[in-house]
């Protein structure tokens, strides 16, 4: 293939290598180093003049660092007279935006998570269960109940017990927090002391614009969290799907797959899960997650906060001290999860596009097991597994996780073990889409067929 150059960023070198192997071309050479002051220095070694350049960079690891590196690489190729520059972002950075735009510290992914020895995976308050189920559970707890005991032993035989394979403790990276301490505390409704509702800016359009500004002419990505994201761009965006890949896995490796239940761990992924369920003729279940503000029994006393502000001149200090006052305990959100559909004694397949902190999926798995699911698979396109996600997954009731190598998985496999975490290869889909785009062929057949 003439005039085709594939370059790789530092986020996922093995995927770039695999893509080049699939395209049977040599990977273009880029020198990406850091100056001593931390600035990224890019030098494209091979000529890219009048070439069709593809730059592979996944939105993982140190996201901001790799994203700026990508922007600089795009700009470098553009100044070096490349004909067309395509950014290949298997996992699109910032694709998942905070779902609740206020109450930054209370909802969404936590900014700080501590490694714990045991997790409950429970939502608080505990999920309401159907009466019959609760009754049978109560029965099984009683001493002599042959039926309940019998079913209990069957379950134990069928259940594959998760075996701990972890050797090294996984340590979460340190993170930058609000160092100037300008963020005040908010109540359960996301309101600050002055009554202004705190909100979180959505970065989608910005990221799209930054890529265009740097000079990207086209984007390739995979399983975008929001399909609307494509509309943020003024350049063509090819959103590939890992669905054919996941479908093949279900058909080939899950015994009696027609009997299994496809489960969406949240309502946002319902469409994704139903399309797989329809395609395979499987039944479908949905887990509904609800976040509500815990209603305080006693409203926070106004006298306390006003006296604070009189005493201290620095308002940020007031806000910090206010955090410790018992009155602020009302600023808590409670999450409830509910299962819609029947999973009793069935094999469940949780389908999601992105697992980050793994809160949603581990909670969903617990709920499924509580409702009598026999075996829980988790099919996930992008496994970022940040914070203490690996430890959560290890201790969770998910029996097997199947993911793709859209972000590097070597570390995750080492911690979770190959029998717990299976990795599917997306380099062929990406390589084929690059080949098709380069040759001006249609990409849409990749949407339905795996490669």
């Amino acid at each position: 293939m003439r005039d085709l150059v594939v370059l790789g960023g530092s986020s996922h070198p093995s995927l770039t290598k695999a893509i080049c192997r699939n395209l049977t071309i040599e990977q273009g050479v880029v020198k990406s180093v850091k100056f001593s002051n931390g600035e990224t220095s890019i030098e494209v070694v091979d000529s890219v003049r009048e070439k069709d350049v593809f730059i592979v960079q996944s939105g993982c690891g140190d996201v901001n660092d790799t994203f700026i590196e990508l922007l600089i690489m795009i700009a470098a190729c553009k100044t070096a007279s490349a004909k067309r520059v395509t950014a290949v972002l298997p996992l699109f950075p910032y694709s998942r935006q905070a779902d609740v735009p206020h109450a930054a510290n209370k909802t969404g992914a936590p900014s700080i998570s501590h490694q714990k020895d045991s997790y409950t995976f429970d939502s608080a308050p505990s999920t309401p269960r159907p009466l019959s189920r609760a009754a049978s559970q109560a029965n099984s707890n009683s001493v002599n109940n042959p039926i309940a005991n019998g079913s209990g032993t069957i379950n134990n035989n069928n259940l594959k017990q998760p075996t701990p394979t972890r050797k090294l403790p996984f340590v979460a990276k340190s993170i930058v927090t609000n160092s100037a301490g300008t963020l005040g505390t908010v109540d359960a409704y996301g309101k600050t002391e002055s009554g202004y509702k705190q909100w979180i800016a959505q970065n989608g359009t910005l990221i799209a614009n930054l890529l265009t500004t740097a000079g990207a002419d086209r984007c390739i990505t995979m399983d975008l969290h929001d399909p609307q994201f494509q509309g943020f761009f003024n350049i063509p965006v090819d959103n590939l799907y890992s669905r054919p890949l996941l479908k093949h896995y279900i058909i080939d490796f899950i015994p009696n797959y027609q009997q299994c239940v496809i489960v969406s761990p949240d309502s946002g992924g319902a469409k994704r899960a139903t399309s797989i369920a329809d395609n395979l003729g499987c039944s479908f279940a949905l887990i509904h997650k609800e976040r509500r503000a815990k209603v305080a029994k006693n409203p926070p006393s106004t006298s306390m906060s006003s006296s604070n502000s009189v005493l201290s001149l620095n308002s940020s200090e007031v806000l910090i001290s206010g955090q410790q006052t018992p009155a602020s305990s009302s600023g808590q959100m409670v999450a409830t999860t509910m299962l819609v559909g029947d999973v009793k004694d069935r094999v469940c397949v949780l389908v999601d596009d992105l697992v980050d902190t793994s809160y949603t999926i581990t909670r969903a798995a617990k709920l499924l097991k509580d409702q009598g699911a026999k075996y829980v698979y988790a099919l996930v396109t992008h496994s970022v597994l940040s914070g203490d996600a690996i430890n959560r997954l290890q201790k969770s009731s998910i029996d097997k996780i199947i993911t793709t190598n859209s972000v590097p998985q070597a570390d995750h496999v080492r911690h979770l073990g190959t029998d717990r975490l299976e990795v599917l290869d997306v380099s062929r889909i990406l390589a084929e889409s690059i080949r098709r785009i380069h040759n001006g062929e249609s990409v849409s057949m990749l949407f339905d067929h795996g490669w």
Binding site: I68, I72, T79, T182
Partner: protein
């Protein structure tokens, strides 16, 4: 005639240099706004806006610093700018004392990016309507922007420091490289003292091979003046050249941006420099403790005054020659 409603200054602090933000805020008597950036565990940055900035005059203070986090802080700045734009701020000014990637301002090799231009474009894309910076490495970077750029000078503050601390008869101003000759000669003219120049031959970035001194520095206190000190290799070598070859009495370095990356502090401690003075445009963290010869000049009054003048539509050029007390 249409009249605009009154608006106020909103100061937004990035995470790169909280101390400078607090100093500027104290100087202006304006509290920092409840807008802040934080990272999720997956390292993506989010900005929470805790007060209205609608139709306000927003100033975001973020300097380019951090050996491992310079890109993180750049992204953070872009996201904060964008957040303020979404929040309908009337004008967004990025206050960037040390402009990141300022040294990558030309295509010095084949297929090398002009990253300073990229950063300029990114800032404008994010929604910047004005930029305030300090001692740009190359003032031509102002031309990379389509929005106004106010390039402030640390020179007035440096001049005051020199006047307060040295006798004019004893000193000579030295430029550690040819690129800084213009900056240094301007200071020498204003002080009415002589100046010398050190010519260096570079083979690789951040590495200096040989130095040649031009001018007479015998028995003088040499003031090495530069816009930034990164690994400090140049400064330390220059000090040696001045003392050994030139016969100088003492060598003192005065710089604007103290980056001090990698082992700069160890180098300074082992060098022949008797003092090094930099502005607080960069966070110095524990470097002041680790390096006994390091001193700072407070630049926050200049930045604060620039913000005030910009807001009230007064001329900023006063600050080019005067340092607010």
């Amino acid at each position: 005639m249409m009249t605009h409603s009154q608006n106020t200054i909103k100061l937004v602090a990035g995470n790169s240099h909280p101390e400078l933000c607090k100093q500027i805020s104290a100087r202006l008597g304006i509290e920092l706004s409840k807008v802040g950036a934080f990272n999720y565990t997956n390292q993506e940055t989010a900005v929470a806006v805790g007060e209205s900035v609608r139709d306000e005059d927003v100033y975001i203070i973020q300097t380019g610093c951090g050996e491992t986090s310079i890109n993180q802080f750049l992204m953070e700045l872009l996201i904060i700018v964008n957040a303020c734009k979404i929040a309908s701020a009337r004008r967004i000014t990025a206050v960037i004392p040390n402009f990141p990637y300022a040294r990558q301002d030309k295509k010095d090799k084949s297929r090398a990016p002009i990253t300073a231009k990229l950063v300029a474009n990114l800032l404008q894309t994010a929604g910047c309507s004005h930029v305030i910076t300090l001692d740009l490495h190359a003032s031509q970077i102002q031309g990379f922007f389509r929005v106004p750029v106010d390039n402030l000078y640390a020179e007035p503050s440096v001049l005051r420091y020199i006047n307060e601390n040295f006798a004019r008869e004893d000193i000579i101003i030295v430029s550690p490289d040819a690129g800084g000759a213009k900056r240094v000669s301007s200071i020498a003219d204003k002080l009415d003292v002589n100046f010398a120049l050190i010519h260096k031959e570079r083979k690789k970035a951040n590495e200096v091979s040989r130095m040649v001194l031009v001018g007479d520095v015998t028995d003088k206190v040499c003031l090495l003046i530069d816009d930034m000190a990164d690994t400090c290799g140049t400064l330390c070598k220059a000090a040696e050249v001045l003392l050994e070859e030139g016969g100088a009495k003492e060598v003192i370095a005065i710089i604007t941006h103290g980056i001090f990356s990698s082992n700069a502090i160890e180098r300074l401690n082992n060098s022949k420099l008797s003092r090094i003075i930099c502005t607080n445009s960069m966070p110095l963290e524990d470097k002041l403790e680790r390096c006994s010869i390091l001193e700072t000049i407070d630049i926050s009054p200049t930045l604060a005054e620039a913000i005030r003048r910009l807001h009230y539509g007064e001329s900023v050029s006063y600050l080019f020659n005067n340092a607010p007390a």
